[in-house]
Subunit: 453 residues, 2 copies
C-alpha cells in the first residue's frame, strides 16, 4: 500500500454524487478498409489479452481506515479487464446525438472505488459506420491534459501500424520514423504525473489569496450568470469538429491569434445561447483561459510555462467583429494573474473554486458571491498529424471535463490534425439544451467569416 | 432519516466488490403490433414522466457516520430517473448471447450508494425484434422473490392495457376483470417487505446452530465441488425457457412432482457440465431447495409456509430415470431441516453461509470445510397467465441471484404462463463456460423424455 499524496487524495475527498471527479475523452474512429460486422468485437478481444497493465491503471483507494477519508493507494493485482474495457452499442437511429447521450450518461456516474479508477467503452452502432471510444479516468490518477496525452500516446501516425497498445497499455517508446510525434506526447504525459506533486499547496495558496484574503486583485468583474450556481450530479456532453483552416483564415485576416478566434466563436455561441434562455447579463462574460507563456524559459529542460488569463468575452456586443476585437485586446493586455505555473498546475488551478476549498460548506457561498470568472475555456494542443489506432482513422478527440459548484459549463477543445475538436460539458440540471451550443458555435464561426470578408 | 434495521444494513455491511448484494431480473418482450424503430425510445420517454416514486425506490444509505458502516436510510427527494432508467442497445449480431453478456456485466457492478439502490435498463437491438428489460435492486431494499413479484405487479394480463406503471412505479390495485391476478402478487410483494423484519435473528440463530455449534444434524453430506470456493466479483448470467408441458408430461408418466423433474433436469445438466470440466465428484451433489409446506396453516392470514430441504441430486448415477427416481425419494423423505419459515425467511436462509456470518474472516474456512450443500436451486411461482406490459407480450422473466463465498452457482427458475424460465447466475472466475449449462439442461430434458417413453 502506497501513501497517497494530498494532490491525489483531495480529488477523492471532495468527490460526491454531485461532483464526480473524473475526466473523460470521446474518440471517433473510421474503421479500416474491409472491417466486417464483427470488427469491434475482434478488436476488443485482441486488446483485452494485453495484461501488461502499468501501476497507474491498477490503483484504487485502499479501504477507509478512518473517517477523514482515504489515505492510501491500493494496487489491484488482479485487474478485471472485462469490467474496465466494455463493448457497447447505440440505440436507434444511431446518430451522433445518441452517442452524445450515452457519453453524457457515462460521464455522469461515479467510478467504483473498489476497482482501479478507470473505464473504457468501445461503442458500435453509429449509422455512418464509424465507431467510438469513451474513456474515463479519475482526476486523482491523471488530470485532463495528461489523460488526453496518454490516450494520444497509444495512437500512431502510420495507418499500417497494427501494434498500437490498448488505452490502459504502456505507451510505446517513440518510433524512429515519427520522432517528435507520439514520442514527445508520451514524455509530456509522464512528466505531468510528476508535476502533480507540487500543485496542491500552490493552488491552495493562490486560491486562498483570490477568494479569502482578497490580496489578489481581479482585473475585471464577472457578472453572475446561470452557469454560476451549485450543480447536480448528472452531465450533458456535446462535441463537434470544425476545420482549423477556417479559424486560421479569420485570424490572418484580422491579425488576431487562433485562440482569439476560438474565444470569439465561444463568445458568440454563449451570447446566442443566453439570449435564447433569456439570461444574457448586461455585463460581458469573463472566461478563464489557460495560455502559453513563451519567452519565460530560463534554459532548463522544463520548457514552456503556462499561465491563465481572464478574458473579456464581450458578450454585451452585438457585432461579431467588435467582439473579436475586444477579446483580442483583452487577451493581449490581460494581467497574467497566475504566472509561472507548469501546464498541469495552471489547468488544475483553473478548476479551483469554492467547492474544492471547502468553502461551499458555508451555506449560500456559491449563490451569493459573484464569480471570479464565468467559465473555463481551455485549448489543449493535440496531435498535428492525422493519427490512427490499429489502422482506424481518428476522426475526432473530444475532451469531457470536471465541473464544480459555481462552474456549470466547461468548454475544452483540442487541435487534431486539420481540425479543432470541441468538447462541451454541462450540468444537466442547470444548462438545458446544451446541444444548442454546437449550433451556435457553427453560426458564430460563419458570422466571423462573414464579418471579415 | 430513518433508522435502518439490521435486516437491511447487514446486506450493506457484508457487500464488497466480490460480493455484490443486489438481485436482478431479465425480462424479454415482444413489441406490440405496429411498433416502429423509435418504439422503445418513446416508451421510455412516456414512462420517465411518472415521478410518482414510492419511498422504497427513493432509499439509499445515509453518509457513513462511523466506521461500523451505514446505520440509516436517507430518502432521495430528487430522484434522477434519467440515471436510474436507461436506454441501451446490443452490439452486433444482436443475439440472445449478446444480451446475456450485457446482463452479466450489469449484474457484476455494484450499485452506487449515493443514489437510490436500483437501476433498470431497457435494451433494444435484438435481431429477432424483441426488446429486453434488466432490473437490478439491492437486497437491502427487496429480496429476490419480492423483487420478482414487484416486477410482475406492474404487468397486466390484458394486451390492450396501456396504463401499466413503470417498474419503479406504484403497483396498481387489482382491476376488477383480473381479480386474483396481479392483485395477489401485489399483496405478496408488500407483505414480503414486512416479513424481512424478523429474518436476521432467526437466520443467524439457525446458521449458528448449523455451522458453529453442530447441534443441527445435516441429513446428508455434500461433496466438495468446484462451486464451493471463494468467489470473485464478476458474474456470468445465462437464461432460457422450456415449455411447462414437457416437464408436466414427464412428471405424470413417472408419478413424480414437477419440481422433482426440474431438479432432475438440473442434476443431469450439472453432471454433464462437471464431466466436461473433469470435476465430477464421486459422491452425489446436494442442492438446497426451498419448498412449499402446505397443510401447516393454522388458519391465520399468513397462509402457506415454506421450508427448505436438502435434495440428493444423484449426479453419481448415469441413468436419467434412476436420477429422477432418487431425487423423488430424496425429496419425499427429506428431513425438513428448516421449518415454519415464511417464504422470504426461507429464501434468505438459503443464502446464508460463512461469508454472511463473518466466519470467512477466519482464513481458510471456505476452502477447508465441506459445504452443507453444493448449490441452491430455487423454483419461484410466477404468473399463471400470459402477461403484457403496455401491450408488449412477456416472453420470459429470468431471475439473476446473489452469490456468496462457497456458493459460486445458483439456479433460480420461475413459472411464466406456459413456460418455465431458468436464470443461472455464476461466478465468472470459478464457473467457466456457464452457457454450456443451458445446452446441458436441454439435453437433460430430452433424455428424461426419452427415458419415460
Amino acid at each position: 500500500m502506497a501513501l497517497m499524496p494530498f494532490t491525489d487524495s483531495m480529488f477523492l475527498l471532495v468527490e460526491s454524487r454531485e461532483h464526480p471527479m473524473h475526466v473523460g475523452g470521446l474518440q471517433l474512429f473510421r474503421k479500416p478498409d474491409g472491417a466486417g460486422p464483427d470488427y469491434l468485437r475482434g478488436l476488443r478481444e485482441d486488446l483485452i489479452k494485453n495484461e501488461d497493465i502499468p501501476q497507474l491503471f491498477r490503483r484504487h483507494p485502499a479501504r477507509p481506515v478512518n473517517t477523514l477519508g482515504y489515505v492510501a493507494w491500493a494496487q489491484d493485482e488482479n485487474v478485471d479487464l472485462d469490467y474496465h474495457f466494455r463493448h457497447s452499442a447505440l440505440p436507434q437511429p444511431g446518430r451522433v446525438r445518441e452517442l452524445l447521450e450515452l457519453t453524457s450518461r457515462w460521464h455522469s456516474t461515479l467510478l467504483d472505488r473498489h476497482r482501479p479508477l478507470w473505464e473504457i467503452h468501445l461503442v458500435e452502432g453509429l449509422r455512418d459506420g464509424r465507431f467510438a471510444m469513451y474513456s474515463k479516468i479519475h482526476h486523482a490518477l491523471l488530470d485532463g491534459v495528461a489523460a488526453l496525452r496518454h490516450l494520444q500516446s497509444t495512437l500512431s501516425d502510420d495507418p499500417d501500424d497494427h501494434d498500437c497498445p490498448p488505452p490502459w497499455g504502456t505507451p510505446r517508446p517513440p518510433r524512429a520514423k515519427s520522432a517528435g510525434g507520439t514520442g514527445s506526447l508520451l514524455r509530456t504525459a509522464r512528466s505531468s504525473v510528476e508535476q502533480l506533486a507540487g500543485v496542491a499547496p500552490a493552488a491552495l495558496k493562490l486560491a486562498k489569496e483570490a477568494f479569502r484574503e482578497h490580496t489578489l486583485t481581479l482585473p475585471m468583474q464577472a457578472p453572475k450568470t446561470m452557469f454560476n450556481i451549485p450543480i447536480g450530479g448528472a452531465r450533458r456532453f456535446a462535441a463537434q469538429s470544425w476545420p482549423l483552416s477556417r479559424v486560421r483564415e479569420i485570424a490572418s485576416a484580422t491579425s488576431t491569434s487562433r485562440n482569439d478566434v476560438v474565444l470569439a466563436m465561444c463568445a458568440g455561441a454563449l451570447r446566442d445561447y443566453l439570449i435564447e434562455q433569456r439570461a444574457l447579463p448586461d455585463a460581458p462574460l469573463v472566461a478563464m483561459v489557460p495560455v502559453s507563456m513563451r519567452g519565460k524559459s530560463d534554459g532548463t529542460a522544463t520548457g514552456n510555462q503556462i499561465g491563465a488569463v481572464l478574458a473579456n468575452l464581450a458578450t454585451d456586443k452585438k457585432d461579431p467583429a467588435a467582439r473579436l476585437s475586444t477579446i483580442h485586446h483583452s487577451m493581449r493586455e490581460a494581467k497574467r494573474i497566475f504566472k509561472e505555473l507548469t501546464p498541469i498546475q495552471a489547468l488544475l488551478l483553473s478548476g479551483i473554486n469554492v467547492a474544492q476549498l471547502g468553502v461551499s460548506t458555508v451555506p449560500g457561498v456559491v449563490s451569493n458571491t459573484r464569480p471570479p470568472f464565468n467559465l473555463v475555456i481551455s485549448n489543449v494542443p493535440g496531435p498535428r498529424k492525422q493519427m490512427y489506432w490499429n489502422g482506424a482513422h481518428l476522426d475526432g478527440i473530444y475532451p469531457a471535463s470536471v465541473l464544480l459548484d459555481g462552474q456549470a459549463l466547461n468548454i475544452t477543445l483540442t487541435s487534431n490534425g486539420d481540425n479543432l475538436d470541441f468538447g462541451i460539458t454541462g450540468c444537466r440540471r442547470s444548462v438545458p439544451h446544451l446541444q444548442r451550443l454546437l449550433l451556435h458555435l457553427d453560426t458564430a464561426l460563419a458570422e466571423l467569416e462573414h464579418a471579415v470578408k
